[in-house]
Symmetry: C2
Subunit: 298 residues, 2 copies
Amino acid sequence: MSAHSWIAVDWGTTHLRAFAMDGRSVVAQFSSDRGMGTLSASEFENALLDVIGPWLDRPTPVLACGMVGSRQGWVEARYLPVPCKPLSESFTEAPTKDTRLRVWIVPGLSQASPPDVMRGEETQIAGFLSLNPGWDGVICLPGSHTKWAHISAGEVISFQTVMTGEMLAALSGSTVLRHSMAPTGWDEKVFLDTLDQTRSRPETLATQLFRTRATDLLHGLDPVAARSRIIGALIGAELAATRPYWLGQPIAVIGATEPSRGYLAGLRAQGAAPIEADGDAMTRAGLSVAHSKLMETA
Amino acid sequence: MSAHSWIAVDWGTTHLRAFAMDGRSVVAQFSSDRGMGTLSASEFENALLDVIGPWLDRPTPVLACGMVGSRQGWVEARYLPVPCKPLSESFTEAPTKDTRLRVWIVPGLSQASPPDVMRGEETQIAGFLSLNPGWDGVICLPGSHTKWAHISAGEVISFQTVMTGEMLAALSGSTVLRHSMAPTGWDEKVFLDTLDQTRSRPETLATQLFRTRATDLLHGLDPVAARSRIIGALIGAELAATRPYWLGQPIAVIGATEPSRGYLAGLRAQGAAPIEADGDAMTRAGLSVAHSKLMETA
């Protein structure tokens, strides 16, 4: 059918995105909601074949990243300990029955002290560094588990994870705050005002949360403003926690528009000048790096 | 049947507890899981009759506190603005069909700035003050929404709410931390170690949470230790936020054993000497105060 020579797969907890690739170019793409979290180990091959089957007119190498390589995934891929170059070795081949399939999962990164892990973001970092060779600084990857990685000479020196996205989902999904918060929407002034409070006094996060609910009960509060306030309080506390990372450093924010927006606005309000890169594009660029490496060693 | 003269009802979001009272003494008690959160406005009377019906051999006054008086409750009871004596006025009568029933709901407390509200804890505070006349200091009421109230000359001067309990429930119920945390259990050393970190550097709460998960993934972590660590991180951040309240003050912790334990241990580790009081007993003492007031004005 198409001119593709390999397949890139971004396989997280809640989604599966596959791209038929010709070198670094996308020829076709398809996605499904059969994320790692919905599958047992024996179901991964069929879930993948359902998506990429039409592209398998011949044996085609597949490079995958994300939670597919976790202990609850298809096969557990290694963590490379930092400091190291991301994706620099040790792809793990997943067990397959279909002879047209060979699937390699790239390694995540681990840090011994303080303990931390990542799976998926290392591929975006590798992609960003392949497109911006020689770039040194701090990369912020907003998401359920936002990662902050210190980059020097092409290596991840250290990183840390803040569960801001998952905390927001938990607060807006299963606490009393859900009655006051809109599911979407953005009020940047409210966001920045609240961010400034928890950034300068992070201990106030604890009191800001219920205060948002009480303000709504006593005076009424626009649900979009309430949402912007909660996100501002969380990201403000995160910027306080990660200040030793980003202060005075070149900063790149890699991600989708929605989770990145608050980080970009917040960092800019603190006098930083972050550059932006699209998360999906960086994932594909990173898997392209992995594919090239695989071809070299094959 | 019994010698009771009135009925005390503690009616929260998730539970309903009723006590047949003779003056300040409990003659009989019964509880159900038909909390405010499970009922629409028209269902409260029958839910109450299911529990206290057997006690209604004659018309009997019922004094109730808690979320039964919220906007989503039986009838919305007032908030008294602080500073004020809790339960000092304005009981709200709930609409009833059964002529044996007269139900009064006590008022909550509100604070204009910073905005805050409470419903239920004001009754425990009133009960504690009736049993400890002249006591001045700070009362901590641990729970889903922990309250800190500054008491002077029998009045609540100000208060603030921290959603530590609900945050713990959200983190342990619907985030990746649930894979690493035991549902119960206690390791006080781990708790105090983590508490000390977020108490002195509250911004590190953001990084402590995922670090607990990563420690488990990389090195293995006892699920009880993980739970104690998360609770320590949350209460440590709360003690940092509320330090202007409790530092150098007499402190009373009012609540059930489980949520109070961490607050007592944490405050003691900070050099404070909190006294303890049982939450249910304080609720009944507070409703007794309300009943006496009602009798005076009747």
